[in-house]
Structure formats: structure tokens, C-alpha cells
């Protein structure tokens, strides 16, 4: 048996869940579970997600060689399951979150500290027993650091700038960072609990608010998951309009990031110009779809807003402006030596770590991991569109900036193609009502990376359980690695080049 078919063989040997689409979900035995963990640890498979239900844990994996994607579910009647984080570090935070939310216990876990639950929630294990919290939680223990002349710098959760809250604990030797430990969870909103029992319309709105800057990606992923579950096919035009929104979102965010990264090196001019361009994208989006961020414009079954002639004109004007202005900004970035001096070789992430964490988006592609869900999973309409997936190997801040620049160019190319080839027809179909419980999963490429949404619908068509997984789960830990051996003052630059989501991660 070759490695290429290993995951397939494992799936065939296990009991498959019938109403799960489009990829299989199998109920596995503890032995198969352990085989899966070994495969993850050996790097044969990439971890896509790990989440729990009161008596079951789900593990989404993808085999890069064959493109096979599957979810393995392990029933835990005793409330225990073999720890994933023990053999595969990228799963550690997901596993700690799973424990916080469901109360299941991983066996031989390396890190027993809570993650999202800071002891301030009104309930403990909201997705499990949902009991009132008993005794107060012991203070959070940061990882110990020993050595001479080391000192700690606690930063956050409230920062001097207007950004989301997160705590960063630096251990530094003078200016050199020895270790960074993140503490997140300050923007936990209980989205998964809110999703339990919500009807599909409300759930789509909730998922669209997991992370505001990726609302299109989330809404699309949720819509695809629900459509897969109910075997509804969205009309052709809806696919294309969704891609248009996704590319506009990517354009706006990459443009904003480009300026913000330069601004963190005190080069405010780039921010000024990029902010104008980003604003143009948002206004064009508002003209096209009636909302600057295009929130709630993608709904299960199609899209909620059609593109009018005005919108097409606005987009053409937008592209013309980008084609005119963006090259000058690229040149400005490339020719400003003082800026290059800050971004080059700063915040290097080992490509091996990127592979191990299955880190997507610009961070992954700046470090040699070519995964892009638009290409690797090729959901419509990207299977019919021409675009390149830029990949670099330098894995520093500069490379992450360049990936964004190249992706802006690709997004412009995609928008042009969409405008030329946009099919005519209806923009939405009613969801089918199969009359039984169904499950669906979808992966969509947001601007940050691949967003995964898994959903289980009841026979009545409401959401029984839904899990949105942000790309930041596999990016935040790498930020800790990126800052090592850098100086404290370069952290904002590294952090901005990652631009991970707090909200999407904290759920």
C-alpha cells in the first residue's frame, strides 16, 4: 500500500456516516484514531480542524498528495479521548479549546491549561454540561523561562492602538526576544453555542460575523457547507458573484495590510495611499452589493444581491484606478531602502514549521507552502478562472508583503475575468429540504487562508451543530516562532505581517 492511498484505505476500513457531504466522515475506533495521529505527526496528512461535541471529537485531515479530505470522529463514551496535541503540536490549542467548550478530557495531554476560558464565563463547558462555574480558576501559568538577565514584558490585552485584545508575554534579554507566549480568548463571543439550534438564516448571519474582515469567506464557506448537506446547487451566476465578493474582500484587506505593515515601520505615506485605495474598494463594494464589507450578501442557496450595471461600472473604474496607482506603490515599496531594511529577514518562520502546522494564506505561501483552497480544492467558479498562486520561500515580512502584492494583482485579474464572463440567470435557489439530518463541510479561501465550516442540520432544517475554523488557528502559534531571535521593537512589524484574527480565533 503506498502512502498516497493510505488515508483512502483508512477511510474505507471505517464506518462511514451516510449523510455527510461532500467529503466522507467516518466513525473511527481508538486504534484508527491513533493511526491518524501518527499520520499527522509524520507529516503525511495536514490537520484542518479539531472540534468536539458532548460525546464525540472530530478531526479534519487532508492528504496533500492525493487531495483527499476527510473527517474522522471518535466517540468518547467515557468523556476521554487520546490527545491529539501530544503527538501533533498544531492541535494543542484546538484541543485546549475543545476541553474548555465541551469538557471532554484528552488523555496524556501535554498542556492541561485552559485556553479560551479565562474563568470569567457564566457557564463552564458551554457546549457540554454547561454547568455553573464552581470554584474560581487558578491563575494562568505562563511557561517558565530560566536564565540569567532575562526579563518579562507583558503587553496587552489592551493596546495603545485601536486593535483587538490579546496578551503577549515576552521574555527578553535586553532587546532580543527569547520567548513570546500568546494568551488569547479575550473576544470569546460564544458563537458556537449561539449557532446550536439556530435556523439556517440566522446561522448564516452569525457565521458571517465570526471575523468581520473575512465575512464573505465565512458566509461562503457556511453557504457551501449547508448546500452540500442539503444537496442544493447554487445557480451558476451566484457562484461567480460569490467569487467576485471574495476577491473584493481580498483586495480590500491585502491593500489595507500592505499600508499598515509599512506604517508599523513608521512609513506613513504607504498607509495614506493604501487607505485611499482600500476605501475605493469598500465604496465600490457598497455600490455593487449595498454593503461595504458585503456582510450577509452570500446566503445558503445563492446570493442576496445581484450585480447591476452601476456596479459593473464602479468595478471597472476601480480596476482602472488600481492599474493606474498600484504599480507606483509597488515601486515605492521596492525602492524605499529604509523600508526594505526593516522587512527583509525580519520575522522568519521555518518552512518546516509552516508545513507541520499546515499554515495557509500569505504566511504559508511566503514560506513555500503552495496551498490555496481556490486551486487545491477548486470550488466553482475558480475551476474555470485563470489565476496564479504566488509562492515565495524567504518566509520573512518582506515575502509576506510581496505575496499580498502579487495576490492583489491576481485578484484584479480575477475580477476582470468575472466581469467578462459573468453568466446570466437567477442568483439564488431555495434550499432543498431532505427531511432527515444532514451534515456538510466546506473549505473556502479567505484573504487570511482557508476557512473551514462544518455543519449538521436537523431533519427540520435547523442547525444542530456548527463549527467554523479560522485560518488563524494555525498561524498564531507560528508568530511565536517568528519573533524568536528578533528584537522586541520588531514585533509590531511581524505581528502586522501575520495579521491573524483575534475574533475568528476566540469565537
Amino acid at each position: 500500500m503506498t502512502a498516497t492511498h493510505a488515508l483512502q484505505a483508512l477511510l474505507e476500513a471505517s464506518q462511514s456516516v451516510t449523510e455527510h457531504r461532500p467529503w466522507p466522515r467516518v466513525i473511527v475506533t481508538p486504534e484508527t484514531w491513533n493511526t491518524l495521529l501518527e499520520g499527522l505527526a509524520s507529516g503525511a496528512w495536514t490537520l484542518l480542524g479539531l472540534w468536539g461535541e458532548p460525546v464525540m471529537v472530530h478531526l479534519a485531515v487532508r492528504e496533500a498528495a492525493s487531495g483527499t479530505l476527510a473527517i474522522a470522529s471518535l466517540p468518547c463514551p467515557t468523556g476521554q479521548f487520546p490527545s491529539v496535541g501530544r503527538c501533533h503540536p498544531p492541535a494543542q490549542r484546538l484541543e485546549r479549546t475543545l476541553v474548555d467548550l465541551t469538557g471532554l478530557r484528552p488523555m496524556d495531554a501535554v498542556d492541561a491549561r485552559p485556553w479560551l476560558d479565562h474563568g470569567r464565563w457564566p457557564v463552564r463547558h458551554p457546549l457540554g454540561s454547561a454547568t455553573a462555574p464552581g470554584e474560581s480558576m487558578p491563575p494562568y501559568r505562563f511557561l517558565p523561562v530560566e536564565g540569567e538577565s532575562l526579563h518579562q514584558i507583558p503587553v496587552g490585552p489592551v493596546h495603545a492602538g485601536i486593535i483587538e485584545p490579546g496578551h503577549f508575554r515576552f521574555t527578553a534579554n535586553g532587546e532580543a526576544v527569547v520567548r513570546l507566549e500568546e494568551r488569547l480568548g479575550y473576544v470569546h463571543k460564544g458563537i458556537e453555542s449561539l449557532l446550536n439550534g439556530a435556523d439556517v438564516g440566522r446561522a448564516a448571519r452569525l457565521v458571517g460575523r465570526v471575523s468581520g474582515d473575512s465575512t464573505v469567506a465565512y458566509a461562503w464557506a457556511f453557504a457551501r457547507a449547508v448546500e452540500a448537506a442539503t444537496e442544493t446547487e447554487a445557480p451558476e451566476r451566484a457562484h461567480w458573484l460569490r467569487a467576485l465578493m471574495a476577491e473584493l474582500e481580498r483586495l480590500a484587506n491585502h491593500c489595507g495590510d500592505f499600508g499598515a505593515i509599512c506604517n508599523d515601520a513608521a512609513f506613513a505615506m504607504m498607509l495614506a495611499y493604501c487607505a485611499v485605495l482600500r476605501e475605493r474598494v469598500l465604496r465600490a463594494s457598497a455600490t455593487c452589493f449595498g454593503h461595504r464589507l458585503m456582510m450577509d450578501r452570500i446566503v445558503p442557496g445563492g446570493v442576496a444581491h445581484d450585480l447591476s450595471a452601476d456596479g459593473i461600472n464602479a468595478l471597472r473604474a476601480l480596476i482602472a484606478e488600481f492599474r493606474h496607482q498600484f504599480p507606483a506603490l509597488i515601486e515605492l515599496y521596492d525602492k524605499t531602502a529604509s523600508l526594505q531594511n526593516r522587512t527583509e529577514h525580519t520575522g522568519f518562520v521555518k518552512p518546516a514549521l509552516i508545513q507541520q502546522f499546515g499554515c495557509g494564506g500569505y504566511i504559508g505561501r511566503a514560506g513555500g507552502r503552495a496551498f490555496d483552497a481556490r486551486r487545491a480544492i477548486a470550488y466553482p467558479p475558480y475551476d474555470e478562472l485563470l489565476f496564479d498562486v504566488p509562492v515565495l520561500s524567504e518566509s520573512d515580512v518582506n515575502a509576506r508583503v510581496w505575496i499580498r502584492i502579487r495576490e492583489v494583482e491576481q485578484s484584479l485579474r480575477l475580477i476582470e475575468q468575472i466581469l467578462e464572463q459573468l453568466p446570466v440567470g437567477p442568483i439564488g435557489n431555495a434550499l432543498r429540504r431532505p427531511g432527515n439530518a444532514r451534515e456538510g463541510v466546506a473549505v473556502v479561501e479567505g484573504f487570511r487562508g482557508d476557512v473551514l465550516v462544518w455543519v449538521r442540520l436537523t431533519a427540520a432544517g435547523a442547525v444542530e451543530r456548527c463549527h467554523p475554523r479560522d485560518p488563524s488557528w494555525f498561524q498564531w502559534p507560528l508568530l511565536e516562532a517568528a519573533i524568536e531571535d528578533n528584537i522586541v521593537a520588531d514585533f509590531p512589524l511581524c505581528n502586522k505581517s501575520f495579521n491573524c484574527s483575534y475574533s475568528g480565533h476566540d469565537l
Partner: protein, 318 residues
């Protein structure tokens, strides 16, 4: 009577410094905003900010000692005196006989010393980072500044600023490489000392990259107002210094007519406006450097100052 008039003019100079300092800051901010395609706040905004801060309550950390409370007053007085000693619109005022370049360097050093102590006093990590970075910058900026002072004093035969200014405005200075090198060194030191880009960013919100702002992070209310005013005064001091030494034109001398004083003031303001514009332009076109490259930057300033002094000896055939 003449003495009284002289002291009156000196008093005017002191008041002028205090009044102009926020205006210069406001002007630079406004130019920067325009360069960044923003409308920008009014150039009077720093005055409003100072008034606002003066009216606000002071919040003191529990761990703050008397030093933390006293430091703003000490820093403010040192810088105000320093700024008032530099001839601006007129040379040869009463106080200028009493003080020279080295005294000004010493006043600046005193202010910095207390600011760094205040940064450490509360015991927060940011204050510590800021103070340690400030001292790293100062340990290189001060020698560079002194080198520049040596070059000037060798040329002019004095370290007393009014005489230097008078000497520099005469024809027998000529074109000297040493002076150009000194000017460059002084500008570099000024950029570093005033926490401007590329050494520090006065407008940053990123705690981890701050130098000056990190030290004053714990200050509030009237203390912060004094610190802010001191920073503006320091910037004005350096502008005046550069203007007085390297562009001493249009200055009135002591005992002139009120008209000459007014003319001198107008020229001085024009110099400030031009200097502020150039600073804003420079800051907009460059990114901040890595903290550990600041020593290279200031090392270059030190070398320039040294080179200026050496060239002077070589050209004199010593």
C-alpha cells in the same frame, strides 16, 4: 535704562520660546498631514491639547516616588532655560553672555537624565525599555554633539553662541568642509534627540517600538502637559541652534530698535517654518530604522563630527 530694555528683550525671548514651541509642533504635524493627503488638525491643536491636559486630573501609579512627580518640572525648567539661551531673533542678550554651547549640552543632558529616571521610577517594563533605549541613543548622541561644539569653538574661538553667530555671519568664515560635516552631525543628533523618524516615531501607538513615548507612558494631567511642552521646547531649541549657528542671518543685536527686533523675529519664524517643513518632508519619505541600527546612525554622526574637527587641524597645517 538700556539694561532694563535688554532684560525686557530677554524676557520676550523666554516668553517667545514658550509660545512658539507648541506652534512649531503643530506646524510640523500639519505639514505631515498634508503630505499624507490628510486634512490635518489646526496648527493650534497642541495649545488646545496642553490646556486640556492642564485641566485634567493627575493619575499617579502607586509605585511612583517623589522623583516621578518632580521630574516634569525639572525637565521643563532645564529645557526652557536651554531654549531661552540660544540666540533666536537677536544676539547678545543679557543671558547669552552667561551661557554657551557646552552649558546647553549640559542642560539637555540634565533633562534627559531626569526623564530616564522617571521612566524607570514607576517600574513598568515599557518605562524601562524606553529609558534603556534613550540612554543608548544619548550615549552616542552626546559625544557627536560635543564634537560639533569643538569644531565650532576651534573656528570661532569661543563656545559662546552669540559670538559664534556673529562670527558665522561674517565673510571670513568662507566655505568650509568642517562646517558642512558639523551641520550634518548636528542635524542627525537633533533627529535622534527629538525622537523623530527614523530613530523614533513621535506619532506611534506601538508600545514596543517607542523610545521617548515609552518613558512618559505613565504620565498624565499637568505632568504630561509639562512633558509635552518640554518636548516641543527641545525641538524648538534644536531648530534655533541650527538656525543660530548655520543660518545666523537677519538677527538683531542687543540694543537695536524695536523695528530691528521685529524684523529679526519675522526672519526667525520664517527659518522655523522652513525647517519644520523640511523635517516633515524628510520624515514622510523614510521608514523608521531598527533600534539596533540607531547606533550606526549616531556613530555616523559622531564620525562626521570627528572628521570635521580633524579636517580643521589638517587644513591649519598642525
Amino acid at each position: 535704562m538700556a539694561l532694563m530694555a535688554d532684560y525686557l528683550v530677554q524676557g520676550c525671548q523666554m516668553a517667545l520660546m514658550l509660545l512658539l514651541a507648541p506652534l512649531l509642533t503643530g506646524w510640523i504635524r500639519w505639514v505631515k498631514a498634508r503630505l499624507l493627503r490628510r486634512r490635518g488638525p489646526s496648527i493650534l491643536q497642541p495649545y488646545r491639547d496642553l490646556l486640556k491636559l492642564l485641566r485634567k486630573e493627575v493619575v499617579l501609579a502607586d509605585s511612583a516616588s517623589w522623583l516621578f512627580r518632580v521630574a516634569p518640572y525639572l525637565i521643563f525648567s532645564a529645557l526652557w532655560v536651554g531654549a531661552s539661551l540660544v540666540p533666536t531673533f537677536a544676539s547678545g542678550l543679557p543671558f547669552s553672555w552667561a551661557a554657551d554651547l557646552i552649558a546647553i549640552v549640559a542642560l539637555l543632558g540634565t533633562a534627559r537624565f531626569f526623564l530616564a529616571l522617571a521612566g524607570l521610577d514607576v517600574g513598568t517594563s515599557f518605562g524601562g525599555i524606553g529609558s534603556s533605549r534613550e540612554m543608548m541613543i544619548a550615549s552616542l548622541a552626546e559625544p557627536a554633539m560635543l564634537m560639533m561644539v569643538f569644531t565650532l569653538s576651534l573656528l570661532a574661538g569661543t563656545t559662546e553662541l552669540s559670538s559664534v553667530a556673529r562670527f558665522m555671519s561674517t565673510a571670513d568664515v568662507g566655505l568650509r568642509v568642517s562646517l558642512a560635516l558639523s551641520l550634518l552631525a548636528l542635524i542627525m543628533v537633533a533627529i535622534a534627540e527629538n525622537a523623530r523618524i527614523p530613530v523614533d516615531n513621535p506619532a506611534t501607538h506601538l508600545e514596543l517600538t517607542m523610545v521617548h513615548e515609552a518613558m512618559v507612558l505613565e504620565y498624565s494631567g499637568r505632568h504630561l502637559a509639562l512633558i509635552e511642552l518640554s518636548s516641543s521646547l527641545k525641538l524648538l531649541l534644536y531648530f534655533s541652534l541650527i538656525g543660530c549657528i548655520f543660518a545666523p542671518w537677519g538677527m538683531a543685536t542687543a540694543g537695536s530698535t524695536p523695528g530691528a527686533y521685529l524684523y529679526g523675529t519675522a526672519i526667525y519664524m520664517a527659518k522655523l517654518a522652513l525647517g519644520g517643513f523640511l523635517l516633515a518632508l524628510f520624515e514622510t519619505s523614510i521608514a523608521k530604522m531598527r533600534v539596533f541600527r540607531v547606533d550606526e546612525f549616531l556613530g555616523a554622526a559622531l564620525m562626521l563630527g570627528l572628521l570635521g574637527a580633524l579636517l580643521l587641524f589638517v587644513s591649519r597645517g598642525l
